[in-house]
Symmetry: C2
Subunit: 456 residues, 2 copies
């Protein structure tokens, strides 16, 4: 007899995964290596050490070890907010009148408000273990910066955040959360770095960009004794840490013998999607099971669906290593009307390879339809979702409505990466009926893609 | 052998209490009845019916029934976000180096961000069951309005919120959350009501007050067919619904044979404190156990510690029934520099009677020390607390530090009522070092208290 599924499936603390899972170990076609921007040769351990902590460089470069032990200090921190709940969306199913069964893994139940904390605490830990003084990073919308501030505060590490100037000014509350956790927050571009001064000289009055903030953060990390740079998405190490999301989700589903048919995640740089799907993708790669895995991206920043699979810079300052990924070109900037996150021009190399090899599909959605889904979800499920997360909600609802038409009782799992408390400006636009959509033209994309670096 | 206590003690869904507990049933001295402001006679069922739903009037007036069944529809909604976690503050204990054992019941894990939802869903349910079209209410900081909007959206009820104008303008994000849940939000005083127009005429340019918003909400409820007024604190019915907090907390502690020595809650109108302490107070009233029960209030609005136990109006418009309570006078308004909530001039009649009879004590704390505690807590426990909740944190930390001095291993339980995401303006003031304290002078209090109504 089928066990009654509760609204929220909680694992016990003992059931929090003890190891992260590295999906690359099960990939036949490994993700292409990071390249040195000067030599175009694969980045070595020694070349990456000045930028990242040693332990993280090892994780970044290791395509073969399937499982990494989660250090006890990180595990103890995880216990503060994990296991995160896997929720059966009974109320949403009822509202949609769908025969589909919808589950979501909710990662917003911590102050950082998103899944970003899973990797932030790991990166902070390794920095502390290496005896470093602090770390530097960039943040746009602020989820990553908030998570990192929390993590650094826990380990008593200095945390320098370069926040894209336009966000710094428009999202003062995000900034204050970071300050409450003891981080210093500098609007970028700033006059505190060489690259910042150069940019300010060239573009006086610029409100900044993610790429520019990355360049400043990297400069400070590499030029200050005892500092390293950390990043909240795109990298292999981040996907490794985020595998805790998928491992927990799978363990919770397994408890009730539930196998999802469709797994849906929003995708910007790929941190949440890569983590959510990892154990399921592992089974798929090993030929044990099949799943319909779906990446959802904004139509305004469509790297999977309209980008090119090629080597590109991760930052606009072009100081970071080159990564092979689906990219719109490092010069691409989403339209100013784009409200949610997910605005990175590229995509995780690991996910790019998996997509290229046909293990997953991608869908691009427009933001007004995303906010419609967000509002519908909020009203019945009681959680105010982040705009990023709402991309996944949009497609989960669409798939559930398809089931309503066909009568199929599919099981849908999606990732609810975070909450939208700091995104009320966007919600207000939607509530006022003044939110618009923008899809880049073919000409725009062709231009930014034409500027990709030439790699043999 | 003592079982290892996890960081978070979760009950199962089946362990959510099936009944609310009415502490009045165990009180020898019952709280004084509400009085009709015209006749000074106790309000009858029929007199209260035009204002509140029938079922809620019954709950309000029933001092004898110890347990009320939680209707299935409310129970199902509770399952969306309950049981809420009881958390062992291991990290805070470690930081304080205290032998005390600290637990907190966290009620911020739902979109409304606070415990207010426990009563909002109940009040919305009874309104729906009675076939009403909608409800009206007032909100200051916005926690109650948000919770009620969520609840009304769930039951498809119209929700009209009168939001104190200064909050409406300074907290646009709170407003947008309510709108996202489909509520109409009107800045108060407004020209949509008679009492609003009267106030605007008398005080042009006023930024409003809670008392004024109450008067507008009551007018709309009583003058529109199919509407009733609802309130998020102070009333007996609210304390009844909020008992779910204490019942869950006690059930979780009982699982591990833990008996708290001290129970601490912040107190504005008393909704959280009354709910948290209810089953413990019941044991104390019945002489089964003893607990040190502490109400924490802001020094800027000190109704318990400096108020008078007397009949007073609940609103400044003086249209609501009179309640016997500790009060600073309905004309008292906390200083403009006061950042957190807990700004009601009076206190729940039930809690007032218990305090008067010596079953609990009260402490008043100043806001900079409250924000210091909030920051300390956030940095180690990972949750950004609401300013209201941080009053309880302040005293929990103080008690834990006393234990450090004396070596006592006391067990402390406090209520963490909600999150501070919408309070970043106050956090910013604190971060910038420009937050100040204000304690009303004896003369000020004597003046507002001297204006209490004369009741024989």
């Amino acid at each position: 007899m089928e066990k009654k599924i509760p609204y929220k499936i909680y694992l016990t603390e003992e059931e929090i995964p003890k190891q992260w899972y590295n999906v690359r170990a099960d990939m036949k076609n490994k993700p292409a290596p990071l390249l040195n921007p000067a030599t175009h040769q694969p980045m070595t351990f020694d070349e990456l050490r000045p930028v990242f902590c040693d332990e993280l460089v090892k994780q970044e470069l290791d395509d073969n070890t399937a499982f990494f032990d989660i250090p006890e200090e990180i595990y103890n921190f995880y216990k503060m907010y994990r296991p995160s709940p896997l929720i059966r969306a009974y109320c949403l199913e009822e509202k949609l009148q769908t025969p589909a069964k919808i589950y979501y893994k909710f990662e917003g139940n911590n102050t950082s408000g998103s899944h970003k904390l899973n990797s932030a605490i790991a990166q902070a830990y390794y920095a502390k273990k290496q005896g470093l003084k602090g770390v530097t990073t960039e943040t746009g919308a602020g989820q990553w910066g908030t998570a990192l501030s929390m993590a650094c505060s826990y380990f008593d590490l200095d945390c320098k955040v370069f926040m894209v100037k336009v966000s710094y000014e428009q999202k003062p509350f995000r900034r204050e959360v970071m300050r409450t956790y003891g981080a210093s927050v500098t609007p970028s571009p700033s006059d505190t770095t060489k690259v910042g001064r150069k940019i300010l000289e060239k573009f006086p009055g610029t409100t900044g960009s993610l790429g520019c903030a990355i360049s400043e953060a990297v400069e400070v990390a590499t030029e200050h004794e005892g500092y390293r740079y950390v990043l909240g998405s795109v990298l292999n190490q981040v996907l490794l840490h985020q595998s805790v999301i998928g491992l927990e989700a799978k363990a919770a589903l397994d408890k009730y013998n539930i196998t999802p048919d469709i797994i849906i995640g929003c995708a910007g740089g790929g941190s949440n999607l890569g983590g959510l799907i990892s154990p399921f993708m592992g089974e798929k790669l090993r030929g044990e099971k099949d799943y319909d895995i779906v990446a959802v991206e904004p139509a305004s920043c469509p790297s999977f669906t309209r980008g090119k699979f090629a080597y590109d810079f991760c930052d606009t300052g072009m100081v970071c290593p080159l990564a092979k990924m689906y990219t719109l070109g490092s010069g691409f900037i989403p339209s100013a009307n784009h409200a949610g996150g997910l605005r990175f021009h590229g995509m995780s190399s690991t996910l790019s390879q998996l997509y290229h090899d046909g293990y997953m599909r991608a869908v691009a959605v427009e933001q007004t339809s995303v906010f419609e889904a967000a509002q519908q979800f909020a009203r019945v499920e009681g959680i105010l979702p982040a705009p990023e997360s709402s991309h996944a909600i949009r497609v989960a609802i669409d798939e559930a409505l398809k089931c309503k038409e066909t009568g199929e009782e599919k099981t849908i799992l999606f990732g609810l990466t975070g909450t939208g408390y700091f995104d009320m400006v966007a919600y207000q636009k939607f509530n006022d009926g003044v939110m618009s959509d923008y899809i880049p033209t073919d000409e725009e994309l062709a231009k930014s893609i034409s500027e990709l670096p030439k790699i043999d």
